[in-house]
Amino acid sequence: MAASMGQQWVLVEMVQAFYEAPTYHLILEGILILWIIRLLFSKTYKLQERSDLTPKEKEELIEEWQPEPLVPPVSKDHPALNYNVVSGPPSHKITVNGKECINFASFNFLGLLDNERVKNAAQASLSKYGVGTCGPRGFYGTFDVHLELEERLAKFMRTEEAIIYSYGFATIASAIPAYSKRGDIVFVDEAACFAIQKGLQASRSNIKFFKHNDMADLERLLKEQEIEDQKNPRKARVTRRFIVVEGLYVNTGDVCHLPELVKLKYKYKVRIFLEESLSFGVLGEHGRGVTEHFGIKMDDIDLISANMENSLASIGGFCCGRSFVIDHQRLSGQGYCFSASLPPLLAAAAIEALNIMEENPGIFHVLQQKCKKMHTALKGIPGLRVIGQSLSPALHLQLEESTGTRDSDMRLLKEIVDYCMNRGIALTQARYLDKEEKYLPLPSIRVVVTVEQTDLELDKAASLIREAAESVLN
């Protein structure tokens, strides 16, 4: 439904353009409209008519046309076709392809996935509400649990309002096009994750990429834009600008330079959208993310988005910020309006996970210690390079030297992964769609640190990876 909504807003934009146009323009356009009406009524007007083809020729063309197959064939041993099979829960101890391993692959940073309290809360919700919601938020899909979760998230993040989505990916991908429209400008980091890229594409805005975490490059683009604006102030007055960054980049394990970004924000009057899927529940003394980490006021960030699929170990995502900003998504966030709401048991699990986070703020410190330890232990493995900062719970191991092609690099990394997997450490390569990514990251193994991993297990993993690298890369 509401397929026509897009067109409706185009209409709105037209009306708005109408207000801003100079008078001679309007007169000219008025004459044009009269002309078009004349053409329409004169009945000689035919679109798309190419009468130089006889019906028979047309038939022949239709007969001859051969489409491509719907999908090209995929070879049976394509590396991405044959998934690992996890039997049982994907928790700290995990059974992959029949082998018991310690999990260094899932984003279960706080180990809440198989937490009994979380499970009990979900059970209670299940026995009250069942599983599905059978409707979008607008149409009897709003449960008291959703309202509670939104309130709790807003309070936890110390913002006015929060809004939840039923799918992590859809959160930022819906939020961006709710604000940024055709003609607006978005400055975005080259390393931005795929969900951000899709949100930007859906917005049809002007997109300017700056070099990863390079504030000078961002400022260069902002300055260029400023000069552009001075040439055309009328247009500049209605062109919204946004900076979209990640708190902790999932593709690189780097933390964004938030203090500098906030300075640039006020200097160039650009709004900041911050995607915190990896940093929420990880950075900061209370796990509030990168704002807390840097001591930045929440109000300085226009919109924060994160999913509840990593630290909170549930499903879905949320955006938070001032009501002025967030409330708009309740009518304009596509993934919010046009999709069934989050199953209540998943919302209940997220609430309980928040409770646990609030009751044990020490947990974030523990996680940090483990991240540092792992980072140090992985450094200096011959042939492998550690990518990411030491406070990131997701680190990337890249080949120090490429073998020449992406495929053969991937194959080498896969051998390392398999080596470890056979010896009880579950790892995974970071997966990307090679042809879809704007700036395709180099092949890597993504190592995830969680609070459940003991020092012993961290040591074991690190030395196993070293062993694997030595055996595979030599």
């Binding site: 996935l113 299940l126 599905g132």
Partner: protein, 562 residues
Amino acid sequence: MKRGPENLGGQPRANGCSFSKHGAGGGLKNGYVRGSAGADTHSQIHRIVHNGGLYKRPFNEAFEETPMLVAVLTYVGYGVLTLFGYLRDFLRYWKIEKCHHATDREEQLDFVPLYQDFENFYTRNLYMRIRDSWNRPICSVPGARVDMMERVSHDYNWTFKYTGKVIKDVINMGSYNYLGYTQNTGPFSEAASKVLSQYGVGVCSTRQEMGNLDKHEELETLVARFLGVESAMAYGMGFATNSMNIPALVGKGCLILSDELNHASLVLGARLSGATIRIFKHNNMQSLEKLLKDAIVYGQPRTHRPWKKILIVVEGVYSMEGSIVRLPEVIALKKKYKSYLYLDEAHSIGALGPSGRGVVDYFGLNPEDVDVMMGTFTKSFGAAGGYIGGKKELIDYLRVHSHSAVYATSLSPPVVEQIIASIKCIMGEDGTTIGKQRIQQLSENTRYFRRRLKEMGFIIYGNEDSPIIPLMLYMPAKIGAFGREMLKRHIAVVVVGFPATPIIESRARFCLSAAHTKEILDIALKELDEVGDLLQIKYSRHRLVPLLDRPFDETTYEETED
């Protein structure tokens, strides 16, 4: 435009024929006038016979035309509301009327405004008046009856306060609970509960990395078997199933032919794919055929290179119209023009067909004739998520290239278990006949409810077998009045207006469920009868003109290219 009833099969007739005898509406729909398309009747009669033969069952779909007086009054209503809106905006500007809406931060007032003022005009002046009819919070299972949280507003719907009271046992005609599988007791929730204890709720990884659980594979095998296709893949959200998989199937140089009323997720997926999009009139096979023919004959714009492939995108049951796709004709066209078919069964899977296998089952067709069988688990199965089924090559390709498989967290295990349990029940594999009975019950409820509403004199849209029943309200003032009056009588209904519907076609929508008993339906019908008289919305003049008159303008040619 006037949309007459159509009766295919028994008395074969095609859609879109224009033995054009324009009714009182005079070609008025959605506020603009279309030329009459009364051209070559001869070839159309030919088509009629031809198409009639495709249907194995009667296809009764009626769209009574909007009465002229109602249309005029509706426009007047919007006119008055708009004028008042401007007046109130003027008063707000001069601070005579209190301004309720939130504003940007002081520090950011010199930024380019986040919203265009015009965008909010509609929200501020029309939506706010009737906002209480949406987002009503509930606090129980969304079954046949539902408990709702009472809320009040002291500032004309700008904010709501919860009184703490619960409105008990409201009859639920709003949830998409077609087969009544949303339950908090019984085998389904017990199965889900067991899996929840074992697996927890999250997965914390994607299918391609470390989130491919044995449960997911079990589900996919079952879904493939249920649909009668070679292979299937499941995703965490129905919306994203469309928006993240269509781009994997088509791209630049491909053409998407999309029904004008397709769901937002299909539209988004089509846009993200980079393919050229052309829109055909809702369920209008003439319009579709013309687009297909033109596309192949003329090729791509400017270069006239042939299209790489053509994908027709349709839904099984349209959620605002209650219409059922003319699948036999679509399949015939798709075969004739060598294009591919993407069928979104969000509202039809489980809800249609003698064995609940959706619109393909309903028409007795072969699932292999549909290239991409998409659907969601949110509705009939009482869970969450979506699936795509089809040939093994298709699913293998998606396992490698689907955006969801690579970047999105996989389905929650207890949700998966709910789906497995409900599909098994529908298929009778749980050893009971509950599944069969529910399908039967839903179809009886649908026919009964539709018949009774029609007899009462309401204008009802859609197919006689569609469990989605739109009841036309037309005027903006009646949207809020109807929603409130029904809630007062303890019946929860969905009301929709612009922009979800054309501006004058505001409506209420009932979703029938197998969980509704005859007693519940009779209570609802009795109240509806009274409310219908009270609000004077029994517009029907029972002028079900036997001719089909859904002309489409030959020169209408919409195209989106990004």
